[in-house]
């Protein structure tokens, strides 16, 4: 049960991992322009990391410290709330960066548009990657039978 897969599987997984990660990052960063956003990209990235987990065996999960993941998750959450709080001059979640032309305020359709939304997508993506990965790692390490 604890045998990892063959060398071929590992290599193929490593190869595809690059594409999965690029695709995930694309989905997150273009969230305000194209379908997708923080959550979708985050799940895709998490799925990539989990592919590593499957291909390289579950002991791989031990190499990534649990604390790092929970820190990243917390940072993602705080960043999201801070960005939402920026709008307190008007109302919570008010997109002040865009309405006041402070940052990311180019014309709709350009990459640097959308105000706080791309930043929010980033923080949500961070939170989702860290959350799902840590949940899965906890699950896969559970019971300590693979060692």
């Amino acid at each position: 049960m604890t045998r990892t897969f063959s060398r071929i599987v590992e290599t193929v997984a490593d190869f595809f991992l690059i594409f999965i990660i690029v695709f995930g990052i694309y989905i997150i960063t273009h969230g305000h322009l194209t379908p997708g956003g923080g959550f979708q990209g985050g799940v895709v990235l998490a799925a990539g990391i989990l592919l590593l987990l499957v291909a390289h065996g579950f002991s791989f999960a031990r190499k990534i410290p649990e604390e790092l993941l929970s820190d990243l998750e917390a940072i993602g959450g705080i960043a999201f709330i801070l960005l939402a709080s920026l709008g307190f001059g008007q109302s919570f979640f008010y997109n002040i960066l865009w309405h006041e032309k402070l940052a990311f305020a180019e014309q709709v359709g350009r990459f640097f548009s959308g105000g706080a939304i791309p930043l929010m997508n980033l923080s949500v993506g961070l939170k989702v990657v860290a959350g799902i990965t840590s949940g899965m790692f906890a699950l896969s390490l559970f019971g300590g039978e693979e060692s």
């Binding site: 604390e67 998750e73 940072i75 705080i78 709330i81 939402a84 008010y94």
Partner: protein, 634 residues
């Protein structure tokens, strides 16, 4: 625009994400943030109430992400809508969780896991969001935040089989209920194209459709499950004892109340104005009355003290739901209708205070003894005088003993139910009788002879961190009992008025016609006195029915005598008492005779609580189907 409505939620969420980061730096810092956020929140909600009352309780509408809710011609933004009822609930949620948070600093010392603070704060944020929100989308999101963190907290002690089993059942039942709620929200959206509750109420008033009624059936079934009402209460008795005691206090004190609140908000503010809700109101009254009987009765037959409290929660929430159901029925004596609603809301507040206090103090006892069996708690009152005093005070409050707050709200409910229907009134009285038996055993046990376990462990009263919240809650209970006018006039009446005037809930909408008036609204009358009205004939009838019940039980009771054995441990000291071998109990003795009398009923009920998840799920689907058939199809 005032930002008070959102502030509480933001404070909780920020603290929830900060604590795991700070925990690594220093544990005390994380605890400080945890305490600061939970203790500051009641202040924020008090300010919110002051702002509301200074504006003659006109609902505050707060729009997320824009200056106003209107994008086109109808409200499209996500809104928070705070009226007197929401603010009342928000104050309860934040104050009780502040007390519990203070207690858990001392209590969770050993478990001390950083996840606990995050989950606790997320649970608070979810509940606060549920009571403050003004649209169904948000309600669903916050409901799920609440539910998921409570599943996680029930299963917090994963190394115990009990927590795992209870968490599993709770989670699967709760998820099915959430799915039913989601489907109902989808149906409502498909019907009316909006999820803002005020807008939905307006639409339903003008175009009531069958599909919307089906949706209401689903929403009610789901939220009644979250509120632990018979027949979908089975998870509660498993889940609440399995959690750590602080979490039990939150779950029993607040989470189920928030479920009831959501059901009431949807039934009253959205659907009440549209159609005749007589049948629905009766259905709610019947499930409430069933909860009163089942919960309080089964509480008397538990050896596990936390399970006793959990069953008693079902019974007490039954009172709240009965009161809410009575006011839902049009054509009831308006005095009774108002008294029922006052009583229900005040009992909601009182039960939150009392159950939090009971779970915290019982938690301290369980913590120091290492067992939850009442039989081993004999004579602990001498060793832990403060804690035991709080337990017994809470027990008296729940029974409804006169100087305490439970008495006032129960009295209002007795009167309302008696005027409404004498049989329901007698059931309300009977429920109190059952709960007296249940909590009476605590008096025997705690004040009785010292058991060997207590002598061995020699427990002591907990430290300052844990004593202060207990004393605070006990003081609140006594204060509300002696001076019920303060909470009733200050908080409960405005909340009741808000619930009974759905027109004001929708009044901010830019629609023709202004404020709606409901066909179901009872005509305005003289404000009812705190203790209601006195109608001798009705009360005589209720008295007669109660006596008939009593005689029935009395006649069923065993006529023989019984030698003391295993079964009375709980009332003596918990050990097999050699000295008491000769003691004999006659069949008329309160506790044993009563137990014999209702044994067949209790055994039938216990068979129904078989622990089989499939049966529990079946009951949820059954309730849903009954609601749809009786009300959706009509």
């Amino acid at each position: 625009m005032s930002h008070l409505p959102i502030c509480g939620i933001v404070v909780y969420l920020t603290a929830a994400f900060l604590t795991p980061l700070l925990y690594k730096a220093h544990r005390r810092v994380a605890e400080g943030v945890f305490l600061a956020s939970t203790l500051s929140n009641p202040v924020l909600q008090t300010l919110l109430i002051l702002e509301l009352s200074s504006n003659s309780w006109k609902p505050i509408v707060y729009t997320l992400g824009a200056a106003g809710p209107y994008e086109w011609t109808y409200p499209i933004r996500i809104v928070l809508e705070v009226d007197a009822l929401s603010a009342f609930m928000a104050l309860i949620v934040t104050s009780i969780s502040a007390a519990v948070a203070l207690f858990s600093i001392g209590y969770m010392e050993e478990d001390g896991l950083q996840k606990y603070y995050t989950l606790f704060l997320l649970l608070d944020a979810g509940m606060l969001g549920m009571v403050l929100t003004g649209d169904l989308f948000n309600l669903y999101v916050f409901l799920e935040i609440t539910s998921i963190s409570s599943y996680a907290l029930v299963a917090f002690r994963k190394h115990q089989w009990e927590a795992v089993e209870a968490g599993m059942k709770y989670m699967i039942m709760g998820s099915l209920a959430s799915t039913i709620i989601l489907v109902s929200i989808a149906l409502l959206y498909g019907e009316y194209g909006t999820l803002t509750m005020a807008q939905l109420g307006w639409q339903y008033r003008h175009h009531p459709t069958g599909m919307a009624r089906v949706a209401l059936a689903g929403l009610l079934a789901g939220f009644l499950m979250k509120g632990g009402i018979v027949p979908v209460h089975m998870w509660l008795a498993d889940a609440h004892p399995a959690a750590p005691s602080t979490i039990s206090a939150l779950l029993s004190g607040l989470v189920i109340k928030v479920g009831i609140y959501s059901a009431a908000r949807i039934a009253y503010s959205v659907f009440w104005m549209g159609t005749d809700v007589r049948l629905l109101g009766w259905l709610v009254v019947v499930v409430g009355a069933a909860s009163i009987i089942v919960g309080n009765l089964l509480a008397g037959f538990q050896r596990d003290i936390k399970r006793l409290l959990a069953y008693s929660s079902i019974g007490q929430v039954g009172y709240v739901v009965t009161g809410l159901g009575i006011a839902l029925i049009p054509g009831v004596n308006p005095e009774a209708s108002r008294a029922a609603l006052d009583g229900a809301l005040f009992h909601l507040l009182n039960h939150a205070v009392l159950k939090a206090m009971l779970f915290l103090s019982v938690g301290a006892i369980v913590h120091s003894l290492g067992t939850r069996d009442i039989g081993y708690m004999g004579g602990i009152a001498k060793r832990m005088p403060l804690t035991s005093a709080v337990v017994l005070l809470g027990a008296m409050g729940i029974i409804g003993a006169p100087p305490l707050n439970g008495f006032v709200s129960k009295w209002m409910l007795y009167e309302a139910t008696a005027i409404f229907n004498p049989i329901i009134g007698a059931i309300a009285v009977l429920g109190t009788a059952f709960s007296t038996v249940a909590y009476g055993r605590l008096f025997y046990a705690l004040l009785g002879r010292e058991s060997r376990l207590v002598a061995d462990r020699s427990p002591r009263d907990p430290g300052l961190w844990m004593s202060v919240p207990m004393i605070f809650l006990a003081a609140a209970s006594v204060l509300f009992g002696i001076l019920p006018r303060i909470p009733v006039v200050g908080l409960v009446r405005p909340a009741r008025a808000a619930l009974l005037s759905p027109g004001s809930y929708t009044s901010w909408l830019k629609v023709a016609g202004g404020i709606l008036s409901s066909p179901n609204l009872p005509p305005a009358g003289q404000p009812i006195s705190v203790f209601g009205s006195w109608v001798p004939a009705v009360f005589l009838l209720v008295f007669a029915i109660s006596i008939a019940f009593f005689l029935l039980i009395r006649n069923l009771s065993a006529s023989g005598v019984r030698t003391v054995g295993e079964g009375v441990k709980a009332f003596l000291s918990g050990e097999d008492e050699r000295d008491f071998e000769a003691l004999q109990l006659p069949g008329t003795s309160v506790v044993w005779g009563f137990a014999e009398a209702v044994k067949s009923l209790v055994n039938a009920l216990k068979r129904e609580h078989s622990g089989d998840l499939t049966v529990y799920l079946f009951w949820l689907i059954f309730l849903y189907a009954v609601l749809i058939l009786l009300w959706g199809g009509a």
